[in-house]
C-alpha cells in the first residue's frame, strides 16, 4: 500500500468515523443511534486494520479484530437491551434542540482544530493532521453525555467516548499497547453493566423515563 493511498483511505475512514459520531447527535431513534454506534465502531476497526496492514503489524490487526467484536458487536448489543422494546424508543426531549445540537457539533469540531493545533504543529505528519477529527469525536461524546436525558443515549455517548479515545490513539501512535487497550475495554464493559442495571432499575421505578416529552408537542 502506497503512502498516498494509505493516507487517503485513512482520512476517509476517520471522516466516516466523525460522520457517524455527528449523526448520533442528529438521530432521534434510539435503535438508530445504536446502529450508528455500530457503524462508528466499524470505522474504528477499519482505522486499526488500515494502520496494521500499512505497518505490517499483526498485533495491531488482532487488536482491531478485538475492537470489532467488542465495540461493534458486544457493547451495542448490550446497550440495545437497555432500550425499552415495548415503550418509547425515541429520544424526543433534549436539553439542547436538534438544530442547535448540529451547530454546536460544528463549533466543537472547529474548537478541536484550535485545541490540537500546537500538537499537530509539533509533528506535522499527514496522519497527525487528522488528530482534530478524533478529538472532536471525543468532545462530541462529552457533549452528548452532558445534554442527553435518556439513559440509552448516555450509554451510547459513553461508548462513543471510548471509541474516540481509541481513534486518537490510532492517530497518534501506531496503535496502543494491547494491554492498555484491553484494560480500557474491560473498564468500559464494567461501567456499562452498572449503568444497564441502573437503567432497568430506574425503568421499573418510574414507568416513563422521559416525562417531559409533552413539551415537544408545540414545536
Amino acid at each position: 500500500m502506497s503512502v498516498g493511498s494509505f493516507t487517503s483511505l485513512f482520512y476517509f475512514d476517520i471522516g466516516a468515523f466523525l460522520f457517524f459520531t455527528m449523526a448520533i447527535a442528529w438521530r432521534k431513534s434510539l435503535f438508530g443511534q445504536v446502529r450508528l454506534l455500530r457503524a462508528n465502531a466499524i470505522a474504528l476497526f477499519l482505522l486499526g486494520l488500515l494502520s496494521g496492514i500499512y505497518a505490517k503489524d499483526a498485533a495491531l490487526i488482532g487488536l482491531s479484530i478485538v475492537i470489532l467484536l467488542v465495540r461493534a458487536y458486544g457493547i451495542p448489543t448490550i446497550i440495545a437491551r437497555a432500550i425499552p422494546h415495548s415503550g418509547d424508543q425515541w429520544e424526543s426531549t433534549r436539553v439542547v434542540n436538534t438544530t442547535a445540537s448540529i451547530l454546536i457539533v460544528a463549533a466543537i469540531t472547529a474548537f478541536a482544530y484550535i485545541l490540537t493545533e500546537p500538537l499537530v504543529a509539533l509533528n506535522p505528519t499527514k496522519r497527525i493532521a487528522s488528530l482534530p477529527v478524533g478529538v472532536s469525536a471525543l468532545l462530541i461524546a462529552v457533549f452528548l453525555i452532558v445534554t442527553r436525558r435518556r439513559i440509552a443515549t448516555q450509554l451510547i455517548a459513553f461508548a462513543l467516548f471510548d471509541n474516540a479515545i481509541s481513534a486518537c490513539a490510532f492517530v497518534l501512535t501506531e496503535g496502543v499497547p494491547l494491554v492498555v487497550e484491553s484494560g480500557a475495554l474491560l473498564d468500559v464493559l464494567l461501567l456499562i453493566f452498572v449503568l444497564v442495571a441502573l437503567a432497568s432499575n430506574m425503568r421499573s421505578q418510574t414507568q416513563s423515563m422521559d416525562i417531559a416529552e409533552l413539551r415537544e408537542l408545540h414545536e
Partner: protein, 665 residues
C-alpha cells in the same frame, strides 16, 4: 409628521388634516434647501479633491482657543466626505418636497443644513480636539432631527434614547481620544498612524475598546444599536436617509481612523474582536429587520446589518495588516468601502421612499400598507431597486462589495494556523445575513408594495410630488450605475488603498469586476444582456403563439369557491416573520399574548379572541432595560444633584472634556 407608533386613528386623521393646511413657508424651505445643497455640493467637491490630490492640511485659531481648528484631507476622509456629500446632493429635492408637504418643528428644519455641514467636517478634522468638537456638534445637530415629534410619547422616548446613546458614545470616544493624544500631544490625525505602537499595550487596548464602543454606538453595532430602530421612524424621511446613509458610516470612519490607523497594528484579538462584533451585528441586525413590520424600523435594523458587514471587512483588513498580507488587506478595505458606499446609496433610496410613504400615507406599518405599486409607481420601482441592492443580489449595488468580501474570505492563506477558521465562520455569517436580507427585502417589498391595500388610507394614497420623485430617480440611477459599472469609484479604492497600505489592491473594478490574481470575476452587464436576450426570446415566442390561443380573460382570483377575497386574506408582514421567530426563538425571544373570552371553561364556545404580538428587541430588554433599572436605583440616591436638563448634561460633558484636555496636555 405622523409616526407609525401613534395608535389612535382619530388623532392621526386630524393630524393629517392639520398637516395639509399648515405647510411651511415657501421662502423658508427654499432657503434651507439651498443652504443644504451648497454645503453638500462643496463637500462633494472637496471629497473629490481629497481623494485625487495629495493630502492637504491647514489650521486656524478661530474656534478652539487652546488648540485651534485643524483640518486636513486625505483619501480616507475623502471617501466618507464623498458618501455624505453626494447623498446630501441627491436628497435635497426630496427634502424640499417633504418640507413643503409636512409641518415640522422649526428647530428640526434648521438643524438639517447644520447637520450636513458637521457631517462634512468630521472626516476633515485633523486633530483630536477638532475631531471631538465636530463629532459632538454633529451629534447635537442630529438630535433635533429625531425630535421631530416632541408631543408624542414614543418620539420623546426615541429622542431620549438617542441622546443617551450619543452621549455614552461621546464619553467613550473622549476617553479614547484622550489616551491617544496623551501619548502624542499635538500630532495631526493623518500623521498618527503607526506611531503609537511604542505605547503600553494595556493602555492601547483600553483605547481600542473605548473607541470601538464609542464609534460602534454611532455605527449601530450591537449592543449599542438600540437607538437606530427608535430614532429612524421619528426622523423625517430625508433626514433618516442622511442619518442612515451617511452619519452611521462615520462611525465606521472613526473605527478605521482611530482603532486601526491611529492605534497602530495592534494585537490579533483586536481584529478578531472587530470581526466578532461585526458578525453579531450583521446577524442580529438582519434577524430583527426580518421580524419587524414597520418599514422604517426594518430599514434601521438593516442599517445595523450593513454596518456589521462593513465591520467584518474592516476587521479582516486589520487582521491581514497584522499578518503582513498587504494585498488581501487592501482587498478587505476595498470591500468595506464598497459596502459603505453602496449602503449610502441604497439605504438613502429606501429611506426616501419610506419618507414619501410617511408623507403621503402617514403609515409605515407594513401590515397596513400594500398595493402601492399601482398608486405610487416611481416609489415602488425605487424601493424595488433599493431592495434588490439591499439583498446583496446580482444587479444590485451591494453585490459588488459583498462579493469582494466573500472573495477576500475564500482566499485566506492556508498557513495562518487556526486563524483560518475565521474564513468559514465569517462566510457563514455573511451567507446567513445575505439569505435573511433577501427574505427581509422580499417581505418589505412584497407586503408593502404589492398585493392590495390593507388599509383605507393606503388605498387612497397618491404618488409623491415631482421634486420628491426626482431624488428617488437620481438615487435609482446612482444605484444601478454602481451595480453595473463600479469602475466609477475605482479611483477611490485605488487612492485609498495606496495611501493606507502603500499597495494597489488587486481588484480591477469596471464593468467587469475581477481580482487580478485569482481569476475570479463577475461581469454584471453580460448577465443583464443574457437576461434581455432571454426576455426578448420569450416575448417573441409569446407573440408568435398568441394567435393560437383563446383571448385572455379577466377573472377573480381563486377563492376556493368563495366569491370574494378580502384584503385580510393576504399574507401579512407579521406572518412573514413568524416562521423566523420560531426558528430563531432563542435569539429573538418572541412575545405573544392571546386573550380569549369564552362561554365555557374549555374554550369551546368562544365569543372573542384577541391576539397581541409585541415585537421587541431582546438585547434591549435583557441588557439595556436592566442596566437602566440598575442605574435608576443608583440615580435615585443622587437625584437632588441634577434635574435632568439637557443643558446641564452638556455642561457636565464639556467640563469633563476640559478636564481631560488639561490633564493630558
Amino acid at each position: 409628521m405622523i409616526s407609525s407608533q401613534i395608535t389612535n386613528p382619530k388623532a392621526v386623521e386630524s393630524d393629517q388634516i392639520k398637516k395639509r393646511f399648515d405647510p411651511m413657508g415657501r421662502f423658508f424651505v427654499i432657503m434651507i434647501c439651498t443652504l443644504s445643497a451648497l454645503v453638500a455640493i462643496s463637500a462633494t467637491t472637496i471629497a473629490l479633491l481629497a481623494i485625487t490630490r495629495p493630502p492637504w492640511h491647514g489650521s486656524t485659531n478661530l474656534f478652539l482657543a487652546i488648540y485651534g481648528l485643524k483640518l486636513a484631507t486625505d483619501p480616507l476622509s475623502g471617501v466618507f466626505l464623498l458618501i455624505s456629500g453626494s447623498l446630501g446632493v441627491m436628497v435635497i429635492p426630496h427634502l424640499y418636497g417633504y418640507l413643503r408637504r409636512n409641518h415640522l418643528p422649526t428647530t428640526t428644519v434648521i438643524a438639517i443644513p447644520i447637520f450636513i455641514f458637521t457631517m462634512a467636517l468630521v472626516p476633515l478634522a485633523n486633530s483630536t480636539p477638532t475631531f471631538f468638537f465636530f463629532w459632538e456638534l454633529m451629534a447635537l445637530a442630529s438630535v433635533p432631527l429625531v425630535a421631530a415629534h416632541p408631543n408624542d410619547q414614543s418620539g420623546r422616548r426615541a429622542t431620549f434614547v438617542y441622546l443617551a446613546m450619543t452621549q455614552l458614545g461621546a464619553m467613550a470616544i473622549l476617553v479614547a481620544l484622550a489616551i491617544i493624544s496623551a501619548s502624542h500631544p499635538g500630532t495631526p490625525l493623518a500623521g498618527l498612524s503607526a506611531l503609537s505602537s511604542r505605547d503600553s499595550n494595556t493602555l492601547r487596548s483600553l483605547a481600542f475598546l473605548l473607541a470601538l464602543i464609542g464609534f460602534g454606538s454611532k455605527a449601530g453595532i450591537v449592543p449599542f444599536h438600540i437607538w437606530l430602530p427608535k430614532a429612524h421612524p421619528q426622523a423625517p424621511g430625508p433626514a433618516s436617509a442622511l442619518m442612515s446613509g451617511a452619519m452611521v458610516s462615520l462611525g465606521i470612519y472613526g473605527i478605521i481612523r482611530f482603532c486601526i490607523l491611529s492605534l497602530g497594528t495592534g494585537a490579533k484579538w483586536w481584529a478578531i474582536t472587530l470581526i466578532v462584533f461585526g458578525s453579531i451585528t450583521a446577524i442580529y441586525g438582519i434577524l430583527q429587520a426580518s421580524v419587524n413590520k414597520d418599514l422604517k424600523v426594518l430599514l434601521a435594523y438593516s442599517t445595523a446589518e450593513n454596518m456589521g458587514l462593513a465591520l467584518i471587512a474592516i476587521g479582516l483588513f486589520q487582521l491581514f495588516r497584522i499578518l503582513h498580507l498587504p494585498n488581501l488587506a487592501a482587498e478587505a478595505l476595498g470591500a468595506g468601502v464598497l459596502i459603505l458606499v453602496a449602503h449610502g446609496l441604497f439605504k438613502g433610496l429606501a429611506f426616501l421612499v419610506a419618507g414619501s410613504i410617511q408623507s403621503e400615507i402617514g403609515i409605515t406599518d407594513l401590515d397596513q400598507l400594500g398595493g402601492l405599486a399601482k398608486i405610487m409607481p416611481v416609489s415602488t420601482v425605487g424601493f424595488g431597486i433599493a431592495a434588490l441592492s439591499a439583498s446583496g443580489l446580482p444587479f444590485g449595488s451591494a453585490f459588488i462589495g459583498e462579493w469582494l468580501l466573500l472573495q477576500t474570505i475564500i482566499h485566506l492563506p492556508r498557513d495562518i494556523g487556526s486563524l483560518v477558521l475565521i474564513g468559514p465562520i465569517a462566510l457563514g455569517v455573511v451567507a446567513l445575513t445575505a439569505g435573511l436580507s433577501v427574505l427581509t427585502m422580499v417581505k418589505a417589498f412584497g407586503i408593502g408594495f404589492l398585493g392590495t391595500p390593507r388599509s383605507k388610507r393606503a388605498g387612497e394614497a397618491h404618488e409623491s410630488s415631482t421634486t420628491m420623485s426626482t431624488s428617488i430617480i437620481a438615487l435609482m440611477i446612482a444605484n444601478l450605475g454602481l451595480a453595473f459599472d463600479p469602475g466609477v469609484i475605482n479611483f477611490v479604492i485605488l487612492h485609498l488603498s495606496e495611501s493606507i497600505s502603500g499597495v494597489y489592491p488587486r481588484i480591477a473594478l469596471g464593468s467587469r469586476i475581477s481580482i487580478t490574481t485569482t481569476s475570479s470575476a463577475i461581469f454584471p452587464s453580460i448577465g443583464a444582456a443574457l437576461f434581455i436576450v432571454g426576455a426578448i426570446a420569450i416575448y417573441l415566442i409569446r407573440r408568435f403563439t398568441a394567435s393560437k390561443r383563446p383571448q385572455p380573460l379577466d377573472e377573480i382570483r381563486w377563492g376556493c369557491g368563495a366569491k370574494e377575497l378580502t384584503p385580510k386574506m393576504q399574507y401579512t408582514a407579521t406572518s412573514f416573520a413568524e416562521p423566523l421567530e420560531r426558528i430563531f426563538s432563542d435569539i429573538l425571544v418572541p412575545r405573544r399574548d392571546i386573550e380569549t373570552d369564552a362561554f365555557d371553561s374549555l374554550d369551546l364556545i368562544v365569543k372573542r379572541i384577541d391576539l397581541r404580538e409585541s415585537p421587541h428587541d431582546a438585547i434591549e430588554t435583557a441588557l439595556w432595560n436592566r442596566l437602566a433599572r440598575a442605574l435608576d436605583l443608583v440615580a435615585s440616591q443622587f437625584r437632588r444633584f441634577h434635574n435632568g436638563s439637557l443643558i446641564r448634561y452638556l455642561m457636565l460633558g464639556g467640563l469633563g472634556f476640559a478636564v481631560v484636555m488639561v490633564v493630558t496636555h
